[in-house]
Subunit: 205 residues, 2 copies
């Protein structure tokens, strides 16, 4: 019983994700969110709770919808292809909509206090991704894909660092091709084959 909800929760969450992605957590006001979601402010509270809760829901959607290629990339046969797909996929997503978009998972790490739950959630995901890549590279060492002398942890950190750096570049207005130049150099130094952009430039949707 009772009145029915007049807006679609999922599409409203996508609109909120878009706003948070572009403006960041602190930069996105309820006015921005309400307008983009086409929902009056109390409706947002009723459906999602806090601003913080709304951001965490949007972050979950972001991870499943836009960061899925990272976990998929881990299943590539060689470490080179894994890293290639991670780096090119990151460059694609960070420049896919407007320029100056960047990575939602990185944009709010640099702001906020130390024990901010928002920051904690972002860092937790980043840490999980890095250890997953670390393990994947250890596997590559076992398989002989990477030399036994390779520092798997350092390489994983290197890839994640480069991803974050590209996110800053993208937020600063770098084009996709500019990011690809960075990726090219990073991949040229990897023990394996060369980059083939066409393999990974359309794996976004």
């Amino acid at each position: 019983m009772g009145r029915h909800r007049e807006f679609d929760t999922e599409s409203a969450l996508e609109a909120a994700l878009s706003v948070f992605w572009k403006k960041g957590y602190k930069g996105a006001s309820f006015g921005d969110l309400s307008e983009a979601m086409k929902v009056a402010r109390p409706g947002i509270y009723a459906a999602f709770g806090n601003k913080e809760a709304l951001f965490l829901r949007a972050l979950n959607l972001y991870i499943t919808k836009y960061m899925g290629f990272m976990t998929e990339a881990l299943e590539e046969p060689t470490s080179f292809q894994v890293v290639e797909r991670i780096l090119c996929g990151s460059a694609d997503i960070q420049t896919m909509i407007s320029s100056t978009q960047g990575c939602m998972g990185t944009n709010d790490v640099l702001a906020g206090s130390e024990d901010d739950p928002i920051k904690r959630a972002l860092l937790r995901w980043r840490a999980e991704m890095e250890t997953a890549l670390h393990k994947r590279l250890e596997l590559a060492k076992d398989q002989g894909d990477l030399p036994a002398s390779a520092n798997a942890g350092g390489l994983a950190r290197f890839v994640m660092t480069l991803t974050q750096g590209m996110a800053v570049d993208a937020k600063a207005g770098a084009t996709r091709d500019a990011l690809y130049e960075v990726v090219d150099h990073a991949l040229a130094t990897w023990p394996g084959r060369r980059v083939d952009r066409s393999l990974v430039s359309d794996n976004v949707a």
Copy 2:
């Protein structure tokens, strides 16, 4: 004539720099600044003007005091040593005080609107640094230090991207040694000699 100023402008500016570095532009309130500078709010306005003007003054101080190693690095004899000093110096500074400090020039790029004068100033400095490095690498190609086939612009972007990525890592709590692992891999791929940390780990002050 008139009453004399009772605080030292320079040390107050350093205190402001410290606050902005740690908390970012938006994150630093006048309460924080006033407390750290030991100057009441109207005194700050009288001495420096706006919050924006204060930040720009602090940014200038940051560049001259903490980013000087970058322009110095360009004078190293080989491109490898140039990049080595830039990357190691960045890792040093980003983790020199507390952890979770990062780079003041990067922290506020990800926040703020598109045409924010703060963001413009940060991006301008970053662009200047990148083109300076680009020119230096072109020179290295002329000198035969880098192969003629090298993409100097892409390499310069690569170095700047890595620097920014490490800034995010540092803000997320990475230690100096963790950043050095990233630097090691980046340098291992550079056409030239290997990294010697002792050369660059004390060039901060």
